[in-house]
């Protein structure tokens, strides 16, 4: 995995999935405002809580890979949901203000 925080993510997930080598949730810090390669997108940040999602009882595997094996897949989806919610709230506020 090429994620620079992959180990930290796995550490946090390990707390859930029983890996004794990691006992804390990941504390992730973004070290850039916007990745250089992202130039054509509206870049947004959103916090995600993989352990809480793992505890939700909803499906946590994709194409045979579990959440701990592919945290970026689920992290991106969770970020997408959070950002979409923020947009929905902003849109509702716009409509109310109009």
């Amino acid at each position: 995995m090429r994620s620079p925080v992959g180990a930290e993510l796995r550490a946090g997930l390990g707390a859930i999935f029983g890996d004794d080598s990691a006992s804390a949730r990941p504390a992730l810090e973004l070290d850039v405002e916007r990745p250089v390669r992202i130039t054509r997108h509206d870049w947004r940040r959103a916090s995600v809580d993989l352990p809480a999602y793992a505890a939700s009882g909803l499906p946590r595997s994709t194409m045979g890979r579990g959440l701990a094996e592919d945290p970026l897949f689920f992290g991106a989806a969770l970020a997408g949901g959070t950002a979409l919610a923020e947009l929905a709230l902003a849109a509702a506020a716009e409509v109310e203000a109009a």
Binding site: R34, H41, L58, P59, L72, A76, G80, G81, T82, A85
Partner: protein
């Protein structure tokens, strides 16, 4: 040519709608139990002892997402449907599975849409997106528009059913060739417009059903498996012409260094950990038609 076989139902779960799971045996291989599914809305319920014609192609090929036979027709109790005489729009048209629907498309457009649309590349993202949406905006209504690219049958996704039961999705419309949702639409744009305008969804998600068309065998084709980008662009364009910029979880379909997987890595770049959402400023290059003009 379809790979159809005669079969008999050995066991059947109770399923009032959606998809029914069965155990069957083929007439030419008695005693060998096989998993099968029946789309209740399309071919009706099955009961133990029913005689069927099943499509065995996927199970015989050992496809990862198709580990079951699919009921093509129930010879015992599926030959007396009255049809839907009041509907006149066909889905799966010009195939033996064509059936009529009443689409949601309205005569009047009300644009621009003032609510956001999220675009999924894979059905596997749906649960996580819907859950996170509910956490961040409790009480807001999120609808799902199922497009083409994965399973066409709207009743196939158990995840979708669970999300509806838990109130994490406000509705489910199947668009284009996809069928069997709670509502039917001819186009993705029509489904989004109806959901966001008429049904009052606060936001919409658009993406394929479970299973992706040919993810492995066509992986080298830029418009094959990697055509997930193209499909996502289709959905994004639909939102775009309705006046909403589409948003999409960004990490997909960049080849991984180990070469073993087509799933992507680099979309989030150094901001990894799922802390980002990237929405394309434009859904696709080239001229676009804005329906508002």
């Amino acid at each position: 040519m379809l790979k159809l076989r005669r079969a008999r139902v050995l066991d059947a779960e109770s399923a009032p709608k959606g998809e029914q799971r069965l155990e069957i045996e083929l007439s030419d291989a008695p005693g060998a139990r096989r998993a099968a599914v029946s789309d209740v809305g399309l071919v009706g319920h099955a009961e133990p002892g029913d005689e069927l014609i099943v499509n065995v192609e996927a199970l015989d090929l050992g496809l990862g997402s198709g580990g079951f036979d699919i009921v093509h027709v129930n010879l015992t109790r599926g030959l007396s449907s009255p049809g839907a005489p009041d509907a006149n729009v066909m889905k799966l048209n010009y195939t033996s599975l064509q059936h009529t629907v009443t689409p949601v498309e309205e005569a009047e457009l009300s644009l621009p849409l003032q609510r956001p649309v999220g675009v999924l590349a894979l059905h596997g993202q749906l649960a996580a997106v819907a859950w996170a949406f509910a956490q961040a905006a409790p009480g807001k209504r999120l609808g799902f528009v199922q497009s083409e690219g994965g399973a066409l049958a709207g009743g196939h996704s158990r995840t979708l059913r669970e999300l509806r039961e838990r109130g994490l999705l406000a509705g489910h419309t199947t668009a284009g060739a996809a069928f069997g949702g709670e509502l039917e639409a001819i186009t993705t744009a029509g489904a989004l417009h109806h959901g966001l305008r008429t049904l009052g969804w606060d936001a919409a998600l658009c993406g394929p059903g479970p299973g992706i068309v040919g993810p492995w065998r066509s992986r080298g084709a830029r418009l094959g498996a990697r055509g997930a980008r193209a499909r996502r662009a289709d959905a994004a364009r639909a939102a775009d012409v309705l006046g909403r910029r589409a948003r999409a979880p960004s990490r997909h379909l960049t080849p991984h260094a180990d070469g073993a997987r087509s799933a992507a890595r680099a979309g989030l770049g150094r901001a990894a950990g799922g802390h980002a959402l990237a929405g394309r400023r434009r859904a696709a290059r080239g001229p676009r038609r804005d329906l508002r003009r």
